[in-house]
Amino acid sequence: MESVTGRIARNLVLIVALIVVIFPYFWITLTSIKPPDLVAKPEVLFFEPVWDNWREVLFDSDVPRYMLNSIMVGTMAVLLALLVGSPAAYSFSRFRTGGAAFRIGILVAQMIPPAIMIIPIYLIMYHARLLDTIWAVIVAHLTFVLPMVTWFLIGFFDEVPVDIEEQAMVDGCTQFQAFYRVVLPIISPGLGASAIFAFVLSWNEMFYSLLLTGGDARTLPAAISGFWTFRGIELGKMSVAVMMAIVPVLIASFFIQRYMVKAMGRGAIK
């Protein structure tokens, strides 16, 4: 059906796109192992790799601590969102509780710009003496993680047949027991996918974290935003820090792409 030239042209375009996407990853990987005196020389491609940058950033800098902050913030935000979001999503999926207002409310909540949230959250945390603690960042991240998780979960609950719960209730479960003993285990892959996706959102967020924390409680993105003094040695370390922020997410992305297509497609069609 398709002409040979058409097929070649298509593959060419795709390969160019592939190179455009991969090249930046390749380049910072290369920079992270370049000897310091060669970092400022982009033309040098072949050299003896040195691991000083990795050693220094991993064992002799604050970057691992910031990474730990990111992990704690993401974990807490996701756990809270699942705890609060899953019963609500179940209630909406089964009983249409709140009707159209609930659905629209979630969509609007996802779209509230940080421009109007940052000032009140900052002032609240200032008065609560919670600035530069991970709690300030957790609360800020809940503003987008919670609507997103609830939205994802509604779709997963929708796919569970009502018969299963009815059978469980005939067998003596209350509705609530049917929810957490029968339905929740069935959608555990969905819970996992939502959790990973929400964690990535939190892991990547910089704006709130930058303004709500000053030192100890910095998350990784806010911390690496300071890695911009453009001297050769710093660039190597910056590359390591950047890789530590993006590699875990790149790996996770291969697992969540499938679910994202589904959840976003649903949002787009309804």
Binding site: E2, R10, V13, L14, L18, V21, P24, Y25, W27, V39, P42, L80, L83, V84, P87, A88, S91, F92, T97, F102, P113, P114, A115, I116, M117, I118, I119, P120, I121, L123, I124, L142, T143, L146, E166, M169, T174, Q175, F176, N204, L210, P221, I224, S225, W228, F230, L235, M238, V242, I246, V249, A252, S253, F254, Q257, M264, G265, G267, A268, I269
Partner: protein, 311 residues
Amino acid sequence: MRHQTTHSPRQPLIPLRYALILPLLLVTAAVLLYPIFFSFWVSLHRYELTDLSNIRYIGFRHYARLPDDKSFLNALSNTLIFVVAAVGLEFTLGFVLAVLLHRQKTFRDFYRAILLTPMFITPIAVGLIFRFLLNSQLGIIPHLLGLVGIRIDFFGPNLALPSIIMIDVWQWTPFMLLLLLAGLESLPHEPFEAARIDGAGGWQIFRHLTLPLMRPVILAALVIRGLDAFKVFEYIWAITRGGPGERTEMILYHIYRVGFRFFRMGEAAAMGYVLVVVIVMLALAVFWLLDRLPVILAERRRRRIARERGV
């Protein structure tokens, strides 16, 4: 619903369906609704972080001053240019790639998995990587261009904004690709086969079948990405800090400067609300344009043809 009332031995204080939703309502009230109202309250006050004992109600005075605020208007117009250019390019490129990938048989999943990766990584990392790649002294791209005699400063006065736009295109074209490819894959087969049997060409099929059938997906992709593009901050923070001059000053960065560098919280809060109004109006305009306009145009064409036939 009936199950619950007949099966439960006694009527609970709050019906289960509402009890399940209550925690979400309480948390939402605390972390979303309260801050939003507080923010509006702040916007009506002289509220300076350096002078918290002297907070005065001043009504809508912050709002009234904004139409004459050159920096604010400049940031707003930069942001609008950025959003329209970036989202437009991302949509066009994303659609081309989606159509190509849709036809691709070999390595399709591999291509997709790799091409989608930029949308998952943190924007600050993208900003830092491109600041490095495009740097006049240290960057590989200016170096390669230099080999063929082209010398350009990607973050100079004329190119800074286009460079920021291209960085956004690198990161977010994958989002368009993801949605549009999912849309293409869910299209029904029958109308396309019928059109081909009737002898329609590739372009005709695209124009009169693919595009109309894809309209809901296109609309969603443009609106979601458009809303998100207004939040641009990290590239500016990592690379230009609004410069050179105020060429790349974006609205969120401007609000940050007014609120957190000059400590004028009331004014910054008012800017946030004006931004929301602008965004809502734009979103409605896009909806109207993509949802109503094709219908209106088709109706007009139908009438014209009817009139010509009548004559």
